[in-house]
């Protein structure tokens, strides 16, 4: 029976022992190999004092060891907490202390950063995966872990409701918040997604996302459920689209999942005309809006693949889908679609009442894939929930996504923007996303971000930054004129800046806070 995430590996190790579970560059692990290594790490952690419910950090770039780390940690009964190696040290220290991480699993390439980290008052007791001796902290190499005998290895009892992983995301207040998922919610996601995209043991799943971005759970959980192979895209390839396209061809990727940005870069810079990617049967994307003109162009490049627009905040994993078999006809944004299995929703107005038909409102979601809550922040957890009382003592608990949606006449959900991306200037309500959508519809604009700069004294200005395509010679003033023909006068940006590249978050989303700093 499969009711915890490590069961995924154990089950596939029985059914497909020699199938490759994970591939990275020239290395790979079969299901039987990863089962052994997962147990070795779990045994080591237990011997080091890790108990059920403890949090263990994973501090790595994309590499093969990520898979061993998360499954070994979960097998020991602990929850894994991915730490972004690109994050500033202060943020990493915050997360380590916020959830009381005492043990960190890493690789030798992180040794310099780890050494600096351990000089701080961090509470860390041991580092696994480094060959360097560290003062006052015990350290273990991967070779030592792989030499552990599994005689007398006792499996820790885990229940489906136990904590499996915590993913930290930026909170709107500036303090990261830890989203807690259980074996149940993680497994629900794996089952629903493996089923929806028909994963089989023949599939090669392209995993582009880093561990700290929840899109990675598809490659790390859903693919093992089916006995498929997950190809972990190396960091280097995520920066060079030509090399990425080559890797996708060589690995014969059949199911791809990434942020739209990676796909747009493949389309523009990937040299796709030279690549044979006929093996692709599904292209999944999530995390941001895929600009429709690029989606159309990419779908024409890969006519055999089906595309799926996936929506879902980390708090609920995935919750809606919109499949496309042929390119959209217009340049209008595509819907986020309908909710998938074991999921229901409401669209609420400002007073938590359901809106009337086809009216915009805030989306709330109830699903088997929903988080347990925010780590160590019951107040925030309660604030994020909407409770529907059915009878005394019986309530249905929904998560408030904070996203504005509207249902169209076909019953499909349309994404209108973030609640907090709505700004007010001189009394006018403006959706920043609407301005961005208008700008990117322009032939020569590749990407756009619009921010509100508040200079105080009611002096608020709309600033747009754009990325133009390489042949473009359009002037900033032309773009403003263009906006004037599509937007109400109060929503026309006061200024347009052209950048050569956008600052990004480590998951590839546009970093609007950094853009504010650049413009300041």
């Amino acid at each position: 029976m499969i009711y915890t995430l490590p069961h995924l590996i154990e089950n596939s190790a029985k059914l497909f022992p020699d199938n490759e579970a994970f591939r990275f560059a020239n290395q790979s692990l079969t299901y039987s190999e990863i089962e052994v290594k997962m147990n070795q790490l779990a045994k080591h952690l237990t011997a080091s004092g890790v108990r059920k419910g403890d949090r263990v950090g994973v501090y790595m770039h994309r590499c093969l060891e990520t898979a061993i780390a998360i499954y070994g940690i979960m097998k020991s009964g602990a929850a894994y907490v991915p730490l972004d190696p690109f994050a500033p040290q202060s943020r990493t220290l915050f997360v380590i202390q916020d959830c009381g991480i005492e043990h960190l699993v890493t690789t030798p390439t992180q040794t310099k950063k780890i050494t600096k980290l351990t000089l701080q008052e961090s509470g860390l007791k041991s580092i696994i995966g480094t060959t360097t001796e560290l003062p006052s902290i015990s350290s273990f190499s991967w070779e030592e872990i792989y030499a552990i005998s599994l005689n007398e290895f006792k499996t820790v009892t885990i229940l489906e409701d136990d904590l499996a992983y915590i993913i930290y995301t930026s909170g709107s207040t500036g303090t990261p918040k830890g989203i807690m998922h259980t074996h149940y919610s993680g497994l629900s996601y794996a089952k629903l997604s493996a089923d929806m995209y028909g994963l089989t043991s023949e599939d090669k799943v392209g995993n582009h996302a880093p561990l700290h971005f929840d899109v990675s759970t598809f490659g790390y959980f859903s693919a093992p459920l089916a006995g498929a192979t997950t190809v972990i895209v190396p960091d280097a390839h995520t920066k060079l689209p030509l090399s990425l396209a080559e890797l996708m061809e060589n690995e014969r990727i059949s199911v791809w999942y990434s942020v739209p940005l990676a796909l747009v870069q493949l389309l523009i810079y990937g040299g796709l005309e030279k690549r044979n990617l006929n093996s692709l049967r599904w292209v999944l994307f999530a995390g941001e809006v895929f600009v429709t003109k690029y989606l159309k162009a990419l779908m024409k490049c890969w006519p055999k693949a089906k595309f799926s627009n996936i929506y879902g905040p980390t708090e609920v994993n995935q919750c809606t889908f919109y499949h496309l078999e042929t390119p959209p006809k217009s340049n209008e944004p595509i819907p986020i679609g309908e909710v998938w299995g074991n999921t229901e929703y409401r669209i609420l107005d400002e007073n938590d009442q359901e809106v009337s038909k086809e009216q915009p409102g805030s989306l709330v979601i109830r699903s088997s894939t929903m988080m347990k809550g925010y780590w160590n922040n019951e107040a925030l957890t309660q604030k994020s929930l909407f409770k529907e009382i059915i009878a005394p003592g019986i309530e249905r608990v929904f998560y408030r996504t904070g996203d504005l949606v509207r249902e169209n006449e076909k019953g499909e959900l349309l994404f209108l923007g973030r609640n907090d991306r709505q700004v007010k200037i001189r009394g006018y309500r403006i959706e920043l996303d609407e301005i961005e959508n208008t700008l990117v519809k322009h032939q020569e604009v590749e990407e756009a971000a619009v921010i509100l700069v508040d200079n105080g004294n009611d002096d608020k200005q709309l600033m747009a930054v754009v990325l133009l395509n390489s042949e473009s010679e359009i002037k900033n003033s032309d773009l403003i004129t263009y906006c004037k023909s599509y937007l109400p006068h109060y929503a026309v940006p006061n200024k347009v800046h052209v950048l050569n590249a956008f600052p990004r978050t480590s998951s590839g989303k546009i970093n609007r806070n950094k853009i504010k700093e650049i413009l300041a």
Partner: protein, 82 residues
């Protein structure tokens, strides 16, 4: 040439200061030294500093993995000055 690259990457692109000087064999792309925005900046720097064009088809791992790889690549592009 190598020193110019080391200086630019260490001063302009690196996320946090290194304890020791960047090595010409350090993995710039996989080791977390340069992010994707940094990659674009580095190409801009190379184009203006060494007066060459980096065509899109040259943007592959084999040319940009380490400072050593970049200098080998640049040697194929730059006409030796007298």
């Amino acid at each position: 040439m190598q020193q110019q690259l080391i200086n630019y990457i260490s001063v302009e692109l690196i996320n946090e200061e290194l304890d020791e000087e960047l090595d010409i064999h350090d993995d710039l792309l996989g080791g977390g030294i340069i992010d994707s925005l940094g990659m674009m900046k580095l190409i801009g720097f190379i184009e203006s500093e060494f007066k060459i064009q980096v065509p899109p088809e040259d943007l592959i791992i084999e040319n940009f993995m380490t400072i050593m790889h970049i200098t080998d690549y640049l040697k194929t592009k730059v006409i030796p000055s007298a």
